[in-house]
């Protein structure tokens, strides 16, 4: 084929035109008196692959959250898995734009890995803004083979406990190990299940006889199993209330906490380093799924985001949807209050911290 000069110029024009459209699209933004977030898109980064608890929560909450942020921005949930959260938080801490349009969601495990200084976890939570967090709580339940009818039967299971967990260092694994220690039970932990869903299936198969979950799947998946007599739910780790006491998670008001369980079994309050370590994890659970902004985001924008979150959890419509989708009411700890729980966690003494390793 032969082309005339005109046709060649035309082709060049098409190429340049394409590039031009691209750059205009990338750069289009209009500033006016409107609220900052008006017409903007917030990117919320989830540090894990799609489909997990943190991802579910981020997608669920952001769908509602936008309605309460002045200017009603769009929210895009994106996944950046790597290093158990280190990649996302490293990015947020040092690379992400500081305009309040890039946020990240942490799971309970990320502060633990930060505390233990796992490789790559070098970002500083203290310099970042914690916007809000949705408290979680771990649950712990036994399979049929352990034959636990009431809590005191638990004492007879020492040495027979085989707990199924995802990996060494996961929040549930740490806290269930500590609970067995606290109760003076001999146990064995089997790591390697790819999710607590798989561990739960192993429980049903009788491969393990103890495993755990969290507040977000309790009502939807675990409670029905108890109703059918497949599992015995023992306790929840609980969370810290505003006075710093261990309280029940709002989504699980009928499930005893570990503290209550201890009192029931031994007739006294738990104490000692193991209990302090459990309380440390409870503090992290209180933080639960937490939403973070990079360092240096303008104060006013943080306020907008915080207020939006506060209004969201106050809205009955949101709570109704939370019960439907997440299986229970979804409280939130906002801003400074949430920071306090974290400060407590990072202030743990070394002899407590070493129990997490």
């Amino acid at each position: 084929m032969h082309f005339t000069v005109v046709q060649k110029r035309l082709a060049w024009a098409v190429v340049l035109g394409g590039l031009l459209v691209l750059t205009t699209l990338a750069g289009s933004a209009s500033a006016a008196d409107k609220p900052f977030y008006s017409g903007k898109t917030i990117r919320v980064i989830v540090p894990f692959s799609p489909g997990g608890g943190t991802d579910n929560y981020a997608r669920f909450a952001s769908r509602h959250w936008v309605k309460y942020i002045p200017g009603n921005p769009k929210i895009l949930v994106q996944n950046m898995p790597g290093g158990g959260g280190a990649l996302t938080f490293g990015y947020l801490y040092s690379k992400a734009s500081r305009d309040g349009l890039t946020l990240g969601v942490a799971s309970e495990g990320i502060p633990v890995r930060r505390l233990l200084r796992r490789p790559g976890h070098t970002y500083k939570f203290t310099e970042m803004s914690l916007i809000a967090s949705a408290p979680s709580s771990t649950t712990h339940f036994a399979g049929k083979s352990l034959d636990i009818k009431e809590l005191k039967d638990l004492k007879k299971t020492s040495g027979k406990i085989v707990a199924g967990d995802t990996q060494k260092g996961s929040t549930v694994a740490i806290v269930s190990g500590l609970i067995f220690e606290l109760l003076g039970l001999e146990y064995r932990q089997v790591y390697g299940y790819s999710s607590y869903g798989e561990a739960r299936l192993a429980l049903l198969k009788g491969e393990v006889n103890m495993t755990g979950g969290d507040a977000f799947n309790y009502a939807l998946v675990v409670k029905p199993l108890e109703e059918k007599g497949e599992v015995t739910i023992l306790f929840q780790s609980g969370l810290l209330d505003s006075k710093g006491n261990v309280a029940r998670h709002p989504a699980m008001p009928h499930l005893r906490t570990v503290r209550e369980g201890f009192v029931e079994l031994f007739g006294k309050e738990p104490s000692g380093t193991v209990w302090e370590a459990i309380k440390g994890i409870i503090a992290v659970n209180t933080l639960g799924k937490s939403v973070w902004a990079p360092p240096g985001v303008p104060e006013a924008r943080i306020r907008d985001l915080e207020d939006g979150f506060r209004k969201m959890v106050a809205d009955p419509a949101f709570q109704a949807d939370a019960v439907k989708v997440m299986g229970g009411k979804n409280d939130a700890v906002i801003g400074k209050d949430a920071q306090a729980a974290l400060k407590q966690f990072f202030g743990l003494p070394e002899d407590v911290v070493k129990l997490y390793r």
Partner: protein, 162 residues
């Protein structure tokens, strides 16, 4: 191609197994056990293969497997030409990688498409240009609009402060 490639590859594999064994010695037994269970037999097999290649070259299998059974390249091409083209195409692949690193996907991919078609495939300007535009459309339409892909910024944009 030549038996020497096979031998080199076998040597490389042996090195890989040795490196795996050495690096795993420090690990706790649960992490180490599976590595050893694979790497030691692997090393043994490379030794067996080496012995066979060295002393019984007749028994050595020449070409491949089920799976893309290949006719050897030099069956119908002069080896020198084949080698030149091979270096050339890998050059283009690395060029694309470098370009992505330098300028980001959104610029690198259309540019690479255009460049390859125009200068390597000797296509007309129109065809090359259209292909580049199609790539832009694909990136903008599918990846940016529908999937909201976060492209990493190229180094160039970083240096220029864009």
């Amino acid at each position: 191609m030549k038996p020497s490639v096979g031998r080199g590859l076998n040597l490389f594999m042996a090195g890989l197994f040795v490196a795996a064994i050495l690096s795993a010695t420090e690990w706790p037994v649960h992490s180490r056990a599976f590595v050893m269970a694979i790497a030691f037999p692997g090393l043994l097999l490379t030794v067996v293969l080496f012995v066979r290649q060295r002393w019984w070259p007749g028994t050595e299998a020449t070409a491949a497997s089920p799976g893309l059974g290949d006719t050897p390249l030099d069956a119908d091409l002069p080896p020198a030409l084949a080698r030149r083209r091979m270096v050339n195409v890998f050059g283009w692949i690395f060029a694309l990688f470098g370009l992505i690193w330098l300028a980001g996907f959104e610029i690198a991919v259309p540019l690479f498409t255009f460049g390859y078609l125009r200068f390597q495939a000797r296509e007309s300007l129109v065809v090359s240009g259209l292909a580049a535009v199609v790539m832009v459309a694909l990136i903008v339409g599918v990846f940016n609009w529908i999937l909201h892909v976060l492209w990493p910024q190229g180094m160039l944009q970083g240096w220029l402060g864009l």
